[in-house]
């Protein structure tokens, strides 16, 4: 046939050696290197089934991944041990080169570097090992190690999916080979030619040097060569004559008797081989596959490898079986052809149609439909039905049908079902033993056992490939026209070719689906590598599962922190987020899910309503017809389960469970990674919060002196917003007056010095110059922070605003000189008066003398007040300041204070009494001190015009007594009002006036100690108005004054 010849037979090696990296693997390894900051990766992969090893490794010299070097070697010592590592649990090792073996060790030139060692697995099967080295890094933190391990594990999934993809590509080739075989057997070639092509294909597909087909002679005593590949013609002619006695062929005999392939790995030493032949041809390995027709053996397919021993892969053996099966069919067909010319023509025509159609690469469903259509036409049947069996549970499903009307098909299906229900060979059906590994059944109309009187005749044949039943093909004949033996043989012959075509389509469909899933997995693992959003990734996984498995509902249930509940993740398919989040399953509620979690075994229920293992509450609530639950585990630790439900009939298969397991592994890794990542992030955030909330300014610079952290306190100190500060040079940004004035970088904060010397600087004081030129006194500590990872240390400056401290210091030193001046002034007066009075050369008149005496007295009082203030302050400071309260009468006390000061006020003190009741529980001496200080201030700050007119008001109110001192003096500027009660504080206006800055401070402390309050009142400009309130009694202290009665009495007496 033209198609076949033109297309030729494209055959590739079904299991290619691992000398080329799977597509995308390099990218994945590079990505891992960059994400992990690793410096070397060695990937060791199990080679093909022959048992060899292949490895591939990559080394990067710089973190930018610029100098990536790849190398592949067929094998290395220790590779086998490496691939026997327990998969799934990364091991942290301090010297990865020593455990990775020679290749990595060679590349690292004996350097001892830390890293991760991890066995790789895919679908519970070890595929290799991964070693990742982190040069110059020795993380002390377990969390970091955990993270790197998780990353390694995650990468392994990506690698596994890529490697599996590669392996599947081999299966694609296998499927192509099967297609070719199908084409050969469905072509219209003569038998000899067809067998010649089959042996050639067999040799090529199995890498054999010789291939041959031998048929048993009719007497069953000899083997006659039928087709040869790679053998000299002269042998062929001899062997065709049948000089090979079966009794001499132990291997052939074994294959024929057992009906299974026989493999000889070492022909030279195997006792079963014909030593002479082995020596002659130089055979190293031999594969013999029997040609069987039903239970009857008719010959063998011989495959010989010379040059070097060959280990046969499963795929190769499968191909050989397929070829043997085809050869058997071809031989059988050829026999049938000769028997019935007409039938042969029909069969040939059908095969031609099938072969032509297969050339266009139809899908499985198209192929099935094609087979049904062709079969019905060939048999001139009313209906034709094709059933395929599930490879796992053996259940049959109608996959394609054709008929004259819908009812004809339904009738046929019913008949087939009945026939099957009655057992393999029910009465009324004759079983045809002949035919290429098939089983034929006929139902004759009107037979005594017929299930329905008028039911049409039924003919059903098995669809088998390599003795393996994959389904059946059934046709319904026309009423009255029964099927003959010839019909059965015709259909069986067709079924033989069709089965191969179907098998090929199935395989291709499966491979395509798997490739699709694997590429999904790969992109998934890439997505996770970038540590994307946890929820988004989980959502992606459930979506993927729902699409790939074609389920209505899919939800991830995660084990909560307490480990007692499985909680639904809100991103689910087929469930509202609220519904999903409400799924909180305890052990009692969801035994199936918990079993899955505990055992690690998937759970399948294809009739969940009837399944006793399930809690019907959820099944009912969701209307789950069928259910698949797989565990999410990382190593041995359970993370959660994935629950998928409502897959269209026939429900979940074992391969669904396998596939979902892969997704579950991914999801588990994501959950674990996310947990780790969240922990790392939480720590980072906490640290960030500590830094940003710190009251001290904190600036962190990298090894180049560029600012990488700058907190709020630092912003307010320097006037630079964080956004502008980040990335700037620290010396350029954080300036001191010296560094700005002289461009003297050395005068800036010595952060770069810290980096150069690798020495922290405990504490030093300096002045910062803010952005707008303000000077701030600061105390700075500098820390050198070496990096555990690499050569990029940090320097940290902790900057404390000490301007307040400095101000107090300044005030204190001012205070000393003020006090000396304050003490000196009245002293000078006293001295001056007395020295003048004592002048021997001077006679003073009595008036002057008297004036001087009063002056001495006043100066002495002033001195006394100052000393009193100093003592009070010192008592306040040492905590010894406590009022000695007792009930006192205010009238005489206030009057005395006023009259004492009246003179220095030039008699302008005015005293007013308001309200009633001027008895109070207080320390009289201290109240006098307060009044003296306040009135003294008013006198002192009377202003240039000596405008005294000071009014003192005492207001006896219900619960307290309010004192107000109002003057017309220089007043207090608004912006300073908040500070005047501070210790040592003196406004700029008062700088040249005498005073210690203690008066108002003492007043405040005294009044507060009395439970009262002192404040600067209103805007009594010009001048100042200060008032204080004394409660009549202290409510909160246990210190009780004398009895009220006494107070009443005294008051009455006063009135």
């Amino acid at each position: 046939m033209g198609t076949t010849e033109e297309t030729g037979i494209y055959l590739a090696d079904p299991s290619p050696p691992l000398d080329t990296a799977p597509e995308g693997l390099r990218e994945l390894l590079e990505q891992t290197l960059i994400v992990a900051g690793a410096s070397a990766i060695q990937l060791t992969l199990r080679g093909p089934a022959s048992g060899g090893f292949g490895y591939m490794h990559a080394v990067v010299a710089s973190p930018d991944g610029e100098a990536v070097r790849y190398s592949t070697e067929p094998s290395y010592p220790g590779a086998e041990a490496a691939t026997e590592l327990a998969p799934g649990s990364p091991i942290w090792t301090d010297d990865v080169a020593s455990v990775a073996g020679q290749p990595l060790a060679g590349l690292l030139k004996g350097q001892s570097i830390a890293g991760v060692e991890l066995g790789l697995e895919f679908e519970a099967r070890s595929i290799g090992a991964l070693h990742i080295g982190f040069e110059g890094r020795n993380p002390r933190r377990t969390k970091t190690i955990k993270f790197l391990c998780a990353l390694a594990r995650q990468t392994s999934i990506g690698i596994a999916s890529l490697v599996e993809t590669q392996a599947l590509k081999g299966r694609v080739e296998q499927s192509r080979a099967l297609a070719d075989i199908a084409r050969i057997s469905t072509s219209t070639l003569q038998l000899d030619e067809m067998l010649d092509r089959l042996v050639a294909a067999a040799a090529r597909l199995t890498h054999a040097d010789r291939a041959s087909i031998w048929l048993l002679s009719p007497d069953g005593e000899r083997l006659l060569a039928s087709a040869m590949f790679g053998v000299d013609e002269k042998f062929l002619s001899a062997w065709k004559e049948g000089d090979q006695l079966l009794t001499d062929q132990q291997l052939s005999r074994e294959a024929l008797e057992s009906g299974t392939p026989v493999v000889v790995l070492d022909a030279g030493s195997d006792p079963r081989t014909d030593k002479a032949a082995v020596e002659f041809f130089g055979d190293k390995s031999i594969l013999i596959v029997p040609l069987t027709l039903g239970l009857r053996a008719i010959g063998t397919l011989y495959l010989n490898h010379i040059e070097k021993p060959h280990s046969y892969t499963a795929a190769e053996i499968q191909v050989a079986l397929a070829i043997a099966s085809q050869a058997t069919s071809a031989i059988e067909n050829a026999r049938l052809y000769t028997e019935s010319e007409e039938q042969r023509e029909r069969l040939r025509a059908s095969f031609r149609r099938l072969g032509d159609a297969l050339g266009s690469g139809p899908t499985l469903d198209e192929t099935l439909q094609l087979v049904v259509n062709i079969a019905r036409e060939m048999m001139d049947a009313r209906a034709c039905v094709l059933e395929l069996e599930d490879q796992v549970d053996g259940r049959s499903t109608v996959r394609a049908s054709a008929g004259e009307g819908p009812s004809s098909v339904d009738d046929l299906i019913r008949l087939v079902d009945q026939a099957t229900a009655n057992g393999p060979a029910p009465a009324g059906l004759s079983t045809l033993e002949s035919g290429a590994s098939l089983e034929g059944r006929r139902k004759r109309n009107g037979s005594p056992d017929s299930l329905e009187e008028r039911s049409p005749p039924l003919l059903s044949v098995a669809l088998s490939v390599d003795d393996h039943r994959i389904g059946s093909l059934s046709v319904a004949g026309r009423t009255g026209a029964e099927f003959s033996d010839e019909d059965t043989e015709l259909l069986a012959g067709f079924a033989g070719g069709a089965a191969v075509a179907i098998q090929r389509s199935t395989l291709e469909a499966e491979v395509k689906a798997r490739l699709h899933h694997l590429s999904g997995l790969y992109s998934l693992s890439q997505a996770i590598s970038s540590l994307g959003d946890f929820n988004e990734t989980l959502a992606h996984i459930v979506d993927q599962i729902a699409t790939v498995l074609d389920v209505e509902r899919c939800v991830i249930l995660l084990l909560d922190d307490t480990g007692t509940k499985l909680v639904g993740h809100s991103h689910a398919v087929g469930l509202e987020p609220e519904q999903a989040a409400l799924m909180t399953l305890s052990r009692e509620e969801a035994t199936a899910s918990w079993d899955v979690l505990d055992t690690g075994e998937p759970f399948v229920a294809n009739d969940s309503m009837a399944d006793e293992r399930l809690n019907l509450r959820y099944v009912d609530a969701f209307g789950d017809e069928n259910l698949l639950i797989v565990p999410m585990r990382v190593g041995e630790s359970p993370v959660g389960v994935i629950r998928a439900s409502n897959k269209p009939p026939p429900g979940f298969s074992e391969s669904d469970a396998r596939l979902m397991n892969i997704f579950a592994t991914q999801a588990a890794v994501i959950v674990q990674n996310a947990t780790l990542f969240r922990e790392v992030m939480r720590e980072a955030r906490q640290l960030e919060a500590i830094i940003s909330e710190a009251s001290d300014g904190i600036a962190v610079v990298d090894s180049r002196g560029q600012i990488i952290a700058f907190n709020a306190a630092m912003e307010s100190l320097t006037g630079w917003p964080r956004a502008e500060a980040i990335g700037r040079d620290c010396e350029e940004l954080i300036q001191t007056p010296a560094s700005r004035a002289g461009d003297d970088a050395g005068a800036a904060l010595p952060l770069k010095t810290v980096l150069e010397t690798k020495q922290s600087i405990p504490y030093s004081e300096t002045v910062l110059l803010s952005r707008d030129g303000n000077r701030v006194d600061v105390g700075v500590s500098y820390s050198y922070v070496p990096s555990p990872w690499d050569e990029s240390p940090l320097a940290v400056a902790i900057v404390r605003d000490i301007s307040a401290l400095k101000e107090v210091e300044g005030m204190k030193s001012d205070f000393v000189s003020l006090v000396s001046h304050e003490l000196r002034t009245p002293l000078a007066l006293i001295k001056g008066y007395i020295a003048t009075l004592l002048r021997p050369d001077m006679e003073l008149d009595p008036d002057t003398r008297h004036r001087f005496q009063i002056g001495i007295n006043g100066a002495a009082d002033r001195l006394g007040l100052i000393v009193h203030n100093l003592l009070s302050t010192s008592r306040i400071e040492s905590g010894l300041f406590r009022p000695h309260r007792k009930e006192i009468e205010l009238v005489p006390l206030v009057e005395r204070v006023v009259s004492e000061l009246q003179e220095s006020a030039h008699g302008q003190l005015e005293l007013l009494w308001r309200g009633e009741g001027f008895r109070v529980v207080a320390d009289g001496e201290q109240i006098s001190l307060v009044l003296g200080n306040l009135i003294g201030n008013s006198i002192k700050y009377a202003g240039p015009n000596q405008e005294m007119s000071i009014r003192i008001t005492v207001d006896g109110r219900k619960d307290d007594i309010k004192f107000t001192i109002r003057d017309r003096g220089i007043g207090i500027p608004k912006d300073l009002r908040g500070r005047i009660f501070e210790k040592f504080y003196r406004g700029p206006e008062s700088q040249s006036a005498p005073g210690t800055g203690l008066g108002l401070y003492i007043c405040r402390k005294v009044i507060e100690a009395h439970g009262g309050m002192i404040e600067l009142e209103g805007d009594s400009e010009p001048g100042t108005q200060i008032s204080f309130v004394l409660p009549r009694r202290l409510s909160q202290t246990g210190e009780r004054p004398e009895l009220d009665t006494g107070a009443e009495k005294d008051r009455g007496a006063q009135e």
Binding site: S817, S820, H821, R824, T825, L827, A828, L829, I830, K831, G832, Y833, A835, T836, R839, M842, L844, T848, R851, F852, G855, G858, A859, K940, Y941, G943, P944, Q946, I970, E989, S990, S992, A993, P994
Partner: protein, 152 residues
């Protein structure tokens, strides 16, 4: 009695009394002021021969008074004796640099003050002083004349 006029500026009334009493006993005419502002005005109107000046005063302190005295032609060159409780060497030096002739710290011996005043008044050449005063009076008259003319 030479009858020379001395201006004393101090915010302490008592201190003014002490200084004035001692100087008056020596026959000097004493003018007193309790603030820098009024002191400067008196220095311009009374044209004293010598000024005794306190430093620590509210509003206008002694340093400022000294600076303004030097700036005004009428009072420039007048001998100023600083009388203060500030005793730091730096203050003394600052006072002398700014044109004060003497620096006396409180508390003081009245005899010491009187002697210092005497020395400074006599050291100030009489003729020069007279000449100086004459020119000052001349200038003052001119100003008064101009004012009168403007006023009339």
């Amino acid at each position: 009695m030479s009858g020379e006029k001395i201006l004393v500026i101090d915010d302490e009334v008592g201190m003014l009394d002490i200084v004035a009493t001692n100087l008056q006993a020596e026959g000097y005419t004493v003018v007193t002021s309790t603030s820098g502002q009024s002191g400067l005005e008196l220095a311009g109107s009374e044209l004293p021969d010598l000024i005794i000046l306190d430093i620590m005063m509210p509003e206008i302190d002694g340093w400022e008074v000294l600076r303004r005295l030097e700036k005004k032609p009428v009072t420039a060159g007048l001998p100023v004796i600083m009388l203060t409780a500030k005793v730091d060497d730096t203050d003394v030096l600052a006072g002398l640099e700014r044109g004060a002739v003497e620096y006396i710290t409180k508390p003081f011996f009245p005899e010491n003050l009187v002697a210092t005043v005497k020395i400074n008044l006599s050291a100030f050449d009489k003729s020069l002083r007279d000449e100086h005063r004459a020119s000052l009076i001349e200038r003052r008259r001119t100003i008064l004349d101009q004012r009168q003319k403007r006023g009339e």
